[in-house]
Homo-oligomer: 384 residues x 4
C-alpha cells in the first residue's frame, strides 16, 4: 500500500499544550484520511528528565533542551510553539528566519510590541503561519460561524462572550510564571484571546473598548516561600464597540468558584440568535426569528451531523467529541493545506486579537475608552 | 368564624402590572394565612371601557377614569401605582399628600429628578412606601440573598446580571409610550432597575460605571402612520465598580431574537458561586468551594423547600411556582406588615437604583466612567 | 358596571387539593375574563378548627364538618371533591343524586369497583362531571396534545412516562392514610393516574400491561407508635401495549431521593418527538424529523406564547407559570362551559384510567400480562 | 531515551469500531504514560480496497482480506475483534486456539448459543479476554460506580436505563446486515448490552424479566432493490427484577426521531440518587439524601476532576472529553495489565449480559416473565 507522505514537526514545549498538540498529530490521521502524515521529529523543553519522558510518551524521535537546536534541524518543517506567551516572539523570529512553517499557541505574545515583532517576522520570511485559536475548529462554533455567514440571523447587533474559571481562586496556589504578566500574559490575553478571536471572526473588527480589571490576591508565595507580587489581572470585563455598530460584552475571570472552564458566546442578530456553552460543547443553540410563532424558542442543534463543519471523520451523531477534537481538527486542517495552501487563522489574526487585548488592558489601566486605532497607530506606550 | 380585617386598596392602572397586582391581592390570602385581607376598592385608568372591564374581571368595587379621585377616596388606604414610569412622581406626590401608603411599580421614575421628587414626597409625608422589585420575592432569588448573607460564598468579588428580551426586535412594532423615554423610561431603567436592585441587594453600593447604548431602530411609525423618533435605548451594557471593590457586568437588551425574558444573575464570592436563571425560576445553582473535590460541581437547588424563604403556603416541592408568585409574595409580605410595620424595599431603595440608572445613562451618553457620587451630588445635569 | 353572574361552589376537603382548588377559584377571574364567577359557598372537613381556618383563608362563606350538609345545600351548584381517593365514590353518589355538577380530584377511586360506582352515579343522574387531571391544562402538555393531533409527529409509536418522587423515602415518616391502599389508593393510581391519562389522551387506549411493584418499607409506625402494615406500592413499573400497536413504558416511585416531583412524558412518532419535563414546566421539547438536517436537534419551545393553548390571560412569554396555573386553567375551562356546556375530561376518562391502574396492579400481583378487556369484562376479582 | 516495549495488535474489521479502536491505540500513549505501546501489525476486512485504505489511515503495518491469516500471525499478540456480532464466536474460537489475547466488541454474540461457545473457548484456552463495554471507562459512569460501591447512595432500589436512537427511523434505509438478527444481533443486544452491563455492574444480577418488542418497518429493500424481511426489533422495553430485590426499567429503540444516541442511566438508592445522561457525558448528577435540606437538589458533578476515575492524563477539568475517551481509556487500562494482569470486564461479563438479552428476547416473544435461571439452565430453546 502507498504510504502517506510525511511532514516533520518539532514541538517546542511539553506542557499541557505540547501534549494536546502531540495527541492531535497522533490522532488526526486516524480520524481524517490525510495525504500528509505528521511525524514528530523532535520536542524541546528546559527540564531534561521531563522532556525525555514527554518524548517517549508522545512518540517523538528525539528530544532536546535547546529549542534553537530544534528550530535549526533540517528535518523539522513545522515548528509548533507550545511555550508560555512571553517566549513566543523570540522563537517565532528564529523559526521564521530558518524558513520554517510555524504554528504558535495563543496568545501570539504577552505584549503588543512582542506581537508586532512576531507578525513582522513571518511577513518578512514569507513562511506559513498559524495561530492556535483551536476553538474555531469545534464543530459547534464552526457551525455558528457558518450560520452567521449564511445570513441566518441577519446582521449581528449584539455579541457577548465570557470565560469563567477557578484557576486562581485558591490564594495558596504558588506564584509561578502564570502570575507574571511578561511571561504568562494577562488573563485578558490568556483566556480573552479566544473570546476576542471569536468576536472578530463572527462580528468583525472592534472599534473601541472600555474595561476594568482586578487582582484579588495581589501577592503569592513562590516555591521558595518568597512573597511575589502578582501583576496579572484575575478578573477583567470590557465593553466592546464594533465598527459595524454592534455592541459587545466581554468578561474573563479566574476567580469563579466551581466554574472550571465555562466559556459561552452568544450573538444576537436582526433575525436570529446563536448561543454556545462550552460545558456542552457538542451543542449549538439557535433561535430563528422567522419561524412560526407556535414553535417559539431555540433549538439545541446537535452539532455533530455529517453536514456540519469540522465533523469529518468523527463519531456518529450523538456520541460527542471533546476538547481534543479541536486540536485534531486544527492539525488536520493545517495538514490538508500542506505544503503550499493557506493556513488560517494566521499571525495577522493573532495580532488583531493582540491589539484588542492591549486596548482592553490600557482601557482598564487608564479608566477611559480606548480606540483600536490608537493601538495600531502606536501613538501611546503600553498600559501602566 | 372571625373574618380577617380588610384593608382598602386602590390600583392606578389596569395594564399588565395592574392585572398582576390585582391577581396578587386575590391569591395572597389563599396562599398565605393573613390577618389583613386586601379589598380592591377602586381601579383607575384613562380608557373608560377598558377600566370598566378590568374592574369587573379583577373584582374591584368601582372604577374611575380619574386617578386623583381614587387617591382622594377615604376607603383607599393603599395606593398601588401600576402606570408607566413617567407618571409615577405626580401620583406619588398626590398620594403622599393624602397620607396614603404607596406601593409603586418599578422603576421609581423615568428620570433622576422625578425619582428625587417621589422619594422626597414620602419622606415628607411619612407614609409607608414600597417599590415593586418583585423578583426579590422569588424563592430562588430570596434564597440567593440568604446564602450570601450567611457567608456561604464569602465576600462577593464578581457580579453579573443580564436581561435579554425580544420585545423590540420587530421594526414594525408601532411607536407607543414604551419608545418615549420621558414616559416609558430607558431600557436601562425598565429592565435594568431589577438588575441594579439585585446588585445592590446582593453586593452593596455601586461606586462608578462605564456604559454603552444603542437604538437599532431609531424611528417607528405610530398608530396614525406618522414617523416618530425613538429616544429609548434598545440595548445597553455597563461595567459596574462596587464600593467593596467587587466588579460587575450589566446588560439589558430588547433586541434578542427568541429571548423572551431571559434574565440571569450570578455572584462569585471567595468561597462559592450562586447563579440564577429566570427561565428556570424554581432553581438556584450553588457551587460550594469548600466541598470535597470529588463532588466538584454546582448543585441545582430546588428552591421550593419549606425551609426556603418565600415558599410559605406554596405548593409541595417540585411542583413549581411562576411569575405570579413574586407578586403574591410581595402582597403578602406587605400585608403582614400592615398597618404599622416596615415595608421593604422602599422608595429609598428605588432611588438608589434610579441613581444607578442615571449614572449608566450618563456614562453611555458621555463615553466616560461616571461615579455615583456625581449623581447624588447633583453637580451635573442629566445625560446629553 | 354589569357584574359577572355567580355560580356556587362547595369544596369537600381543605387539604392540599382543597387549597389548590380554592386558589384557582380566586385567581381564575383575574387571569381570564369570565362570564360566571365562582363563589365558594361552603367548605367541609372533619377537623372543625382546621376547616374553620381554611374557610377564613380561602374566603368561603361558611364551613361544615358534614360533607352531606354541603352536598345538600341549595346554593351549592358544583361539588368539588378534594378528599382522599377512597372516599370519592360515596360523595359522588350523594352529589349526583342531589343533581349537582361534580368536579372530583384524581384518581376517581381507590379501587376499580368504586370507580365503576362513581361513573355509574353520574351517568344515571346526568350531571356535569369532571375529573381533576389538571396537568392537561398546563400550556406545555396542552401544546403537546395539539401538535400530536395536528399530525406533527405522525403516528405515535412509543410513549414513556415516569413520575419520580421522594415522598416515602424516609422510613420514619408516620403511617397515615396515604399508606392504606383502600383510602389513599396505590401509587400506581395516585401518581400513575396522571401518566395513564396523558397516555390515553396522547396515544389512545391501552390493550394490555405487564408490571411489577415493590414496597421497600413494609411497616411504619403510626401517630400512636403502633406498627402498621403498609399495603401500597412504593415503586411500580409497567410495560404498556396500546391498541394502535404503540409501545409504552410507565414508572412511578415515591422512593427516589432528591427527586421531589419529577415527571416526564415523551412520545416518539413516525416523524417527530415531543418531550415534557415537569421540572421545567414552561417548556416543550420538539424534534421535527422533517427539518433540514443541518439543524438536527430538538427545539425547546417556550410554551407560553399567546398562540399556545391554555395561555390565555397569563403573563408575557418568558415569565413563566407554575403548578397553580393548571388549576386556574381547569377552573376557567369548566366555568366557560357553565352551565350547560361539556366538561372534559369527565368521569368516563377517569374510569378508563382506573381500568389501567387496576390492570397494572393485577399484572404486578399476578406476574403476567393483563388485558384491559379483562378489567372491563369484570371476569376476575381485583388483584391479590 | 528508553523506548516503551511494544505489543502487537491485529484488528479484525475496519468499520466504525475498527476505526475507534485504532484511534485508541494511537492516542492512548499520548494521554497516559504507558510501559507497553500498542503496534497495529495487521488489519483485516473483506473489501480489499477499503481495508487497504483503512490500513494506511490507521497506520497498520499490513492488511489482509483473510482474518484467519491475521489471527495466525506470530506478531499479533492481541486480536481485537470489531466485526458484526454474528461473526464473533468463530473468530474468538480461532484466536483462542491460537493462544491470542482477545478484545471483542460487544455484544459478545448474536445469540445465546454463540455467546456460550465464545466464553467456553477462552476458558479452555486460558487466554486474556475482554469485552468492549467501553462506557464503563467514561469518567462519569466510572464515578457513578465508585460512588455506589462506596455506599454513598445506600442499597440500590431502582435502576432505569434507556437508549433512544433514530438509526432506523427512515423506512428508506436499505436492508443490510444490521436488520438481520443472526448477523447484527437484536436491538436488545446491540444497544441493550451496554445497558444490561451497567445494570449488572451497578446493581447486581438480574433475576427475571418481562418484555415487549416491535418492528415498525417489517420489510426493507436491499441494495439490489429486493424486499427483505427485517427480523430485528426496532424498539424493545423490559421490566427487570434484580436478585437483590431492586426493580429496573429498560428501554432501547432505534425509531426515536431526533434522538441520535441518547442514553441515560439512573439509580435510586436508600440514601441517594445518581443519574447520567450521555448527551452531557462529562457530567454526573448526584442527589445526596443526607445533606442539609436547605440545599435540597442534585449536584451536577463535573466528572473530570483529577480525583475521578478514568481521568488520568486527560485535559483540565471543564475542557471535556468525548466518546473517543472511552476507547482510549479502555486501551490504556488493558495495556496497563499487559502481559499478565487481569482484564475486566471479560467474556464472563459478556456472557452474563448475553443471558439478559436472551431472557428479554424470550420474554418479549412469549409474553411472560422469564427467569435468568431458565437461560443459564438451558432448559429451553432460544426465542420463538
Amino acid at each position: 500500500m502507498s504510504a502517506a507522505r510525511e511532514v516533520g514537526v518539532g514541538i517546542v514545549g511539553y506542557g499541557t499544550m505540547g501534549k494536546a498538540h502531540s495527541y492531535a498529530y497522533a490522532a488526526a490521521p486516524q480520524i481524517r484520511s490525510l495525504s500528509w502524515r505528521p511525524r514528530i521529529r523532535a520536542i524541546s523543553g528546559r527540564n531534561r528528565a521531563a522532556v525525555e519522558r514527554a518524548a517517549r510518551d508522545f512518540g517523538a524521535e528525539r528530544f532536546t533542551t535547546d529549542w534553537r537546536e530544534l528550530v535549526a534541524s533540517p528535518d523539522v518543517e513545522i515548528v509548533d510553539i507550545c511555550t508560555p506567551p512571553g517566549t513566543h516572539a523570540e522563537i517565532i523570529e528564529a523559526a521564521a528566519e530558518s524558513g520554517k512553517a510555524i504554528l504558535c499557541e495563543k496568545p501570539l505574545a504577552a505584549s503588543w510590541d512582542d506581537g508586532c515583532r512576531a507578525a513582522a517576522a513571518v511577513r518578512r520570511a514569507l513562511v506559513m503561519n498559524a495561530i492556535g485559536f483551536n476553538y474555531r475548529r469545534l464543530p459547534a462554533l464552526s457551525l455558528m460561524k457558518r450560520l452567521v455567514d449564511a445570513g441566518r440571523i441577519g446582521e449581528v447587533r449584539l455579541w457577548r462572550g465570557s470565560w469563567l474559571s477557578d484557576e486562581f481562586v485558591d490564594p495558596e496556589i504558588r506564584f509561578d510564571w502564570r502570575f507574571e504578566r511578561s511571561v504568562g500574559a494577562s488573563t485578558i490575553a490568556d483566556l480573552g484571546a479566544h473570546l476576542l478571536d471569536l468576536a472578530g471572526w463572527l462580528v468583525g473588527k472592534i472599534d473601541a473598548v472600555s474595561a476594568q480589571s482586578r487582582t484579588f490576591t495581589p501577592e503569592r508565595r513562590d516555591a521558595d516561600g518568597a512573597t511575589q507580587k502578582v501583576d496579572v489581572d484575575e478578573a477583567s470585563s470590557a465593553l466592546l464597540r464594533f465598527r459595524s455598530g454592534a455592541l459587545g460584552v466581554f468578561e474573563v475571570a479566574k476567580t469563579c468558584v466551581r466554574r472550571p472552564c465555562d466559556f459561552t458566546v452568544e450573538v444576537n442578530g436582526e433575525r436570529g440568535t446563536l448561543r454556545f456553552d462550552y460545558a456542552r460543547l457538542n451543542e449549538l443553540w439557535y433561535g430563528d426569528g422567522g419561524e412560526e410563532p407556535e414553535l417559539y424558542g431555540m433549538r439545541r442543534i446537535r452539532a455533530e451531523h455529517p453536514l456540519h463543519p469540522e465533523t469529518q471523520g468523527w463519531w456518529a451523531i450523538g456520541q460527542g467529541v471533546g476538547y481534543g477534537a479541536s486540536f485534531v481538527n486544527q492539525a488536520a486542517d493545517l495538514l490538508e493545506q500542506w505544503p503550499d495552501g493557506t493556513w488560517s487563522p494566521d499571525f495577522a489574526s493573532g495580532l488583531e486579537v493582540q491589539a484588542g487585548c492591549e486596548a482592553i488592558e490600557r482601557a482598564a489601566a487608564q479608566g477611559r475608552w480606548v480606540g483600536l486605532d490608537e493601538i495600531h497607530d502606536g501613538g501611546q506606550a503600553s498600559s501602566t
